[in-house]
Symmetry: C2
Subunit: 165 residues, 2 copies
DNA sequence: AGTGAAACGACCGTAGA
DNA sequence: TCTACGGTCGTTTCACT
């Protein structure tokens, strides 16, 4: 095989991507179905011993390729109103992004190229909360020129990725 | 035991939202930090026995309030180009959403109100892949009138849960 | 809904091909 | 990087509160 990229350094932000073999992909798929599945059971599914699965999961986690975490459903918790908000910004976009990130109702912030400078996803209990969030918090941030709100009608597909640094 | 095959859909439609007490919130927080943390350890942290923690986690999961899953980092896997795509659609938006959902590179699809009918997040390896995805797959879907692409410059914040704060 | 106890199974470190 | 194995700890079931 080629030089094995055995990086034991735990999650360096600038580390290069690693190519996953079929087995690691299969392990990740197992954990995407159920993050609590036992290593032994995963091993049976992918044809590896329990210890080997454990080692690979540990390496994938330490390398920052994958994480096992709990995710919650806003709807089930009474947050009935979600929306994506496109923002046009003057000046420094990162400053606006940081302000947005401090708002608990804002769960997703990304700087973009295009007719919006920033996209932010928000989670609210109802329309009144959304209005207040927009007027009192988001549109009050210095540098925010305008917002356009895309109220969610139905979330159709969601696959959990992760990449915040 | 209980036949509970619910891996395909994270939502359980029709069920009412439930109010979480402080203990369940604490349990969810523990699993947010590490989805593989043992019930015993969580029990010590929240002041409950292992069996009690396990029961609550099982109920929260079955109710669709929470899921423990693996999330991956596209960047670490060589997917350097992410974008949000706003679509204008003629006719049935759900049909377009379903087509979009079948594309593996599309990890997020939501029907919206506003100047876009559908928002879709995509994950690509590079710009060429993005161009091909747009032209050959997305803009080829029947009913898609136009697309606007917001290329991600930097993902600034991403949360997987909202109800526990 | 919670606890406690005992049987069982999973997890972890170490050794070795 | 994997398997094998033994000690330890977590999970499961059940009887009880």
């Amino acid at each position: 095989m080629n030089a094995a990229p055995t990086n034991s350094s735990p999650r360096s932000p600038g580390s290069r991507p690693q190519q996953l073999d079929a087995v690691s992909k299969a392990i990740i798929e197992q954990l995407q179905e159920d993050g609590r599945r036992s290593y032994a059971e995963i091993g049976k599914a992918v044809g590896l011993s329990e210890a080997a699965v454990r080692q690979r999961v540990q390496k994938l986690t330490e390398a920052g390729v994958m994480q096992v975490v709990a995710v919650t459903d806003p709807m089930q918790l009474g947050f009935y109103r979600q929306a994506m908000i496109g923002l046009k910004v003057t000046g420094d976009t990162t400053a606006v992004a940081e302000e947005l990130g401090r708002i608990p109702s804002v769960d997703y912030v990304v700087l973009t190229a295009g007719s919006f400078d920033v996209l932010a996803e928000v989670v609210c209990e109802n329309d009144d909360d959304l209005i207040e969030l927009l007027n009192k918090r988001i549109r009050a941030i210095e540098g925010v020129l305008s917002t356009e709100t895309f109220v969610y009608l139905r979330l159709h597909k969601q696959f959990y990725n992760w990449g915040t640094r």
